[in-house]
């Protein structure tokens, strides 16, 4: 999926796009988040399409403006449009993005199995970003933003956000 994604992105535009970050998770660039679907120059205007993580993600409007501003700084005109299909999946978060999340204190998404096990109190798979223990539990299916659930570590007792798996 990632390969297909990058095929539509003009490599010359990547450095500027990487400067734009998710307003709610500032350590994550939009490139690492995998929300940029295409970026190309058409008649001197950069055309960027992005896809929302969740339908109601309020960060999307801000992201659109941030992208336009990032290009404006380089005196480049940019237009941003939203595409819904194919729907975003957490698989599109890059390995670098996953590392950035962990370092920031958000557990990176695993797979649907991990989410289900946590919900049903089964196997403990989600790793605490503070102490690294997998002895964790889900406190709430919904978290501080649409894309996260709330967990707590049974060992170091720190609560933490887990980026919900979305496939």
């Amino acid at each position: 999926m990632t390969i297909e994604l990058e095929r539509h992105i003009d490599p010359a535009l990547i450095p500027i796009l990487e400067e734009v970050h998710d307003p709610e998770i500032p350590v994550l660039s939009i490139m690492d988040m995998g929300v940029v679907r295409s970026a190309r120059i058409l008649e001197n205007v950069v055309q960027v399409t992005i896809t929302p993580t969740y339908s109601g993600c309020p960060a999307m409007d801000v992201l659109g403006e941030d992208i336009i501003n990032a290009f404006a700084k380089e005196n480049i005109e940019a237009k941003v449009s939203l595409v819904l299909s194919p729907a975003w999946t957490t698989d599109w978060i890059t390995p670098r993005g996953r590392k950035a999340l962990e370092k920031y204190g958000i557990a990176a998404p695993l797979d649907e199995e991990a989410d289900k096990e946590a919900l049903l109190g089964g196997k403990k798979i989600v790793k605490c970003p503070q102490c690294g223990s997998t002895n964790t539990k889900m406190i709430s299916q919904f978290g501080s933003t649409a894309c996260k659930a709330l967990f707590q570590c049974n060992d170091c007792l720190e609560p933490f956000d887990y980026f919900k798996c979305l496939k």
């Binding site: 929302p52 969740y54 339908s55 109601g56 993600c57 309020p58 595409v83 819904l84 299909s85 194919p86 729907a87 975003w88 919900l119 406190i139 709430s140 299916q141 919904f142 978290g143 501080s144 649409a146 709330l150 919900k164 979305l166 496939k167």
Partner: protein, 252 residues
């Protein structure tokens, strides 16, 4: 031949449910019984309002007039809203909120699973995106049905009361309007009538696990899809539309 007006009405038939239920859930912001539930309710409201925006943007574009999603959401009259009566029912107590959610989530997921095969690419894309969100909602509301049904005698009685009161609004979900039929003929819409059996089975399965009883009602309410709403709708719209009506064309 399907006219744009038919598609627009078909879209309202789906999207208005998401808007009105989203509004009802938004009312709970800061009022949830516990913090986690409060966050969950508002998260679900956000998903529903996000889906509503996608549908309304598309409907506004199809109208060919210079309309925006805000015109569609805020400037129609009560009779022009196509939502079912179920979603406009008030937040009487937590049992009602969860039951209303559960009754709608089960339908919503079945609907989107079919709508993703629509010939209309935009509707198919919105549905595919929505499925991921709504399956999460259904999991949440089903879990709470079981927790309350299987909880204390008081929680059991209260949730059964809500089930008994709200069940009469479920049959309307499967009624096909003229626009629904036209959309179906053209490969755009879903045959909701065929979802009823699956729906009833799924509801029965969860309610039985929660030691609750499916009411044996013969009489079902209807009218929302034709724009004939319950008394609650007027109050809801007064709240929803206040800002746009008071300050026309205002923007955030």
């Amino acid at each position: 031949m399907m006219k744009n007006e038919n598609i627009i009405q078909y879209i309202y038939g789906i999207a208005d449910n998401a808007l009105i239920l989203g509004q009802r859930l938004s009312e709970l912001c800061g009022h949830g019984p516990i913090l986690e539930v409060d966050i969950a309710m508002t998260n679900m409201a956000l998903d529903l309002l996000g889906q509503t925006r996608s549908y309304y943007q598309y409907a506004a574009q199809l109208s060919g007039e210079e309309k925006t999603e805000d015109d569609v959401a805020f400037l129609r009259l009560e009779k022009q809203y196509r939502n079912v009566l179920l979603v406009e029912q008030p937040n009487k107590h937590f049992g009602y909120i969860i039951t209303r959610q559960f009754f709608y989530d089960v339908f919503h997921l079945l609907l989107l699973e079919e709508l993703q095969n629509s010939k209309d690419e935009t509707l198919s894309a919105i549905a595919k995106k929505g499925i991921k969100e709504v399956s999460y909602h259904q999991r949440f509301s089903s879990d709470w049905i079981k927790r309350l049904g299987d909880g204390t005698a008081e929680s059991h009685n209260k949730i059964q009361e809500a089930v008994d009161d709200l069940w009469q609004y479920t049959d309307e979900l499967f009624h096909m309007t003229e626009d629904d039929a036209i959309a179906l003929e053209n490969g755009v819409g879903v045959d909701t009538a065929t979802l009823k059996e699956k729906y009833n089975n799924r509801i029965k399965e969860v309610l039985e696990e929660a030691s609750l009883v499916v009411p044996e009602t013969k009489w079902f309410q209807k009218g929302g899809k034709q724009g004939i709403h319950s008394e609650h709708m007027g109050y809801l719209l007064a709240d929803l539309q206040y800002m746009q009506r008071t300050y026309p064309n205002m923007k955030w």
